[in-house]
Symmetry: C2
Subunit: 376 residues, 2 copies
């Protein structure tokens, strides 16, 4: 009795997953985290109006959601000054990235990203057999010109650029991004991941023609809107590309509660402004906490701050482990040289009090551990 | 400036979608339906405990959901007497079907289903380039032996069987399904879609060894649990297959509200019993309404009743259109000879009052229209 016959591609894929959730760590540790500062969630929460809308929708959840997501797409289109035909909504940016890769990438097709950029994008590229070409960051920023050059060299169908960037928190101004789009080789689509753009300085999001077939911009309700657990993201792009999602998407995948929550959140601009303000304050506090402990903060246009631990990956991993041992959930960049840093999401004042309290001891422990390893 | 380069497979796909939602029809009609009896939703609603759990989770939706869905999977495993390693959870059965097809079906691979069975499965098979072989129903029931025989003939990797069946409402006993599984050719996986099984007679769900690599059973919170708009389905299968979903799924796709709602619904067995009872009453009423109007009801093990309109597809389509014109949302089977029927979901007594009121006039109108066409 043999098992199912997986495709050769699937059989070749590793069983790895892009991220281990904090809940998994909590189960392994046997106790919960005291501060949840690792996943760039918005601890400031969703709009109270969105919470109400979700609760109302929960009572009506026996109905399938509208598979066209008409109201939500109309509202998003109005907000961005585009037509509904320019807007695709999906199960988070993660879901949209998976669909987008599926639309374009057949086994062997070239795709370009930055070395150290969003691993879930890489997961999807591998999942459809694409060949990923990685361009180094220029310092702690993605390098748009190098990405475009590599796309031209490799004949890439897709190039990924996050602006602002995760995990470094860095950014380029919109004009730089627009220049990169203009320089793209024929037939190459740029995925412009703007998950964090609400936290960035004015002018970070480029003005783009929504009918430009060379770029799709991705936005999410997971970050500034505080609804990571709801799973709503959207893409703005040319109608031909947007319509193609209908060929492959899970049509009822963004359900009734998700649509209602997103629609209400979109309307509550005052809440968004409060969150952006609270995030700015939290960033300043993290910078100060880092400075008080001799850690340099990288400039950030996001809802997190990347702190340089002043050494190599091993050192940062020790600091991270020592913070986790003190019940503070944080993460860090995966690849060198960025893995000299740890990444701390904006938290409530009480979360940052805990960080403030734990960091000196965590740094001491990391240092002592390094010394004892050196003496062996 | 050329557009993105879709894969040849995607370029070849039609832009059709499996279902048009009632909201789309309402927008086209310019007025809402008075009775929503077309999508086999559970108008009896979700468990009040699940509604509370969703509302609580909404306030915490700033957190990503647990990507391992540990608690929900553990609860499902306990309910079914299997291990968590036997349970995959996804964005509805639709989402799981998409992933499952992706795991197994490369372009040109054979897949078997019944002609007239669930179109969303066919959508996914086409979406991954599979070659679909369709077996006729035996009367108004799927034909498990013929499905298995065709799978052997075509070397199919996957064979789809819904039990009970949608759109006919028919079913086989579990022993028949178990025999079909036992007769599967080597390396063929049966997708046993049990979305409606809670409404079926005892013994409809076969006892299956969860380690049997030849079958995956799919269940949903969309039907008896009344949470179609939440998007939670699950599969029970052998650990090797279940683990493979991790290679391709959207890991955070079943979010925090969805997990909390499903977990609470699972615990509320009293609500489930009430719904099953209310559905049985509604079915009896639909049978009676049909009989009073000369329409024969097919036996049903689901939350809907399929009424034979006593003619061909054209006649049933006229009856359907006349009901829709009277603000009653119903659907009908897509292919002959089943398209002689219309399909009416279990409704509240008030919904069925409207049906009772509208059906005689709808039948008259359909008949008159047919006569006037014949006289032209």
């Amino acid at each position: 009795m043999t098992g199912p016959r997986f495709t050769p591609l699937v059989a070749s894929l590793p069983a790895t997953v892009p991220f281990v959730g904090p809940e998994t760590q909590e189960r392994a540790r046997g106790r919960p985290f005291a501060a949840r500062l690792g996943a760039n969630e918005s601890v400031f929460g969703p709009s109270p109006l969105a919470v109400e809308a979700m609760a109302r929708a929960a009572a009506e959840v026996w109905k399938y959601g509208d598979p066209e997501m008409f109201e939500l797409r109309a509202a998003l289109a109005a907000r961005h000054g585009v037509g509904a035909q320019h807007v695709a909504v999906g199960e988070g940016i993660d879901g949209l990235l998976g669909l987008l890769v599926r639309l374009l990438v057949a086994p062997g097709d070239a795709v370009v990203t930055s070395d150290g950029a969003y691993p879930t994008f890489n997961f999807h590229v591998a999942g459809f057999g694409g060949v990923l070409h990685k361009v180094p960051y220029a310092g702690d920023r993605e390098d748009p010109a190098a990405l475009v050059a590599r796309a031209a060299e490799t004949g890439a169908k897709l190039v990924y650029l996050a602006n602002p960037d995760n995990p470094m928190g860095s950014w380029h101004d919109g004009a730089t991004v627009a220049r990169a789009v203009a320089a793209l080789p024929e037939g190459c689509l740029m995925v412009l991941d703007e998950a964090y753009v609400e936290f960035a300085p004015e002018g970070t999001a480029p003005a783009l023609d929504p009918d430009d077939p060379r770029v799709i911009r991705l936005r999410t309700f997971s970050k500034a809107q505080g609804m990571a657990g709801l799973r709503v993201g959207y893409g703005i792009g040319a109608p031909g590309l947007i319509a193609a999602f209908d060929k492959v998407r899970n049509h009822f995948g963004v359900g009734r509660v998700a649509q209602a929550g997103a629609l209400a959140a979109l309307a509550d601009r005052a809440h968004l402004a409060r969150v952006v303000d609270a995030v700015a304050q939290a960033r300043a506090r993290i910078v100060a906490i880092g400075a008080a402990n001799g850690l340099v903060a990288l400039p950030s246009a996001t809802n997190f701050v990347t702190l340089d631990c002043g050494g190599d990956g091993a050192r940062a991993r020790r600091v991270l482990a020592a913070l986790v041992a003190r019940d503070i959930f944080v993460r860090m960049p995966f690849v060198a040289p960025h893995d000299r840093c740890i990444r701390i999401s904006a938290g409530l004042p009480s979360d940052l009090d805990r960080l403030d309290e734990a960091l000196p001891a965590a740094l001491d422990e990391a240092l002592n551990e390094a010394r004892s390893l050196a003496q062996r």
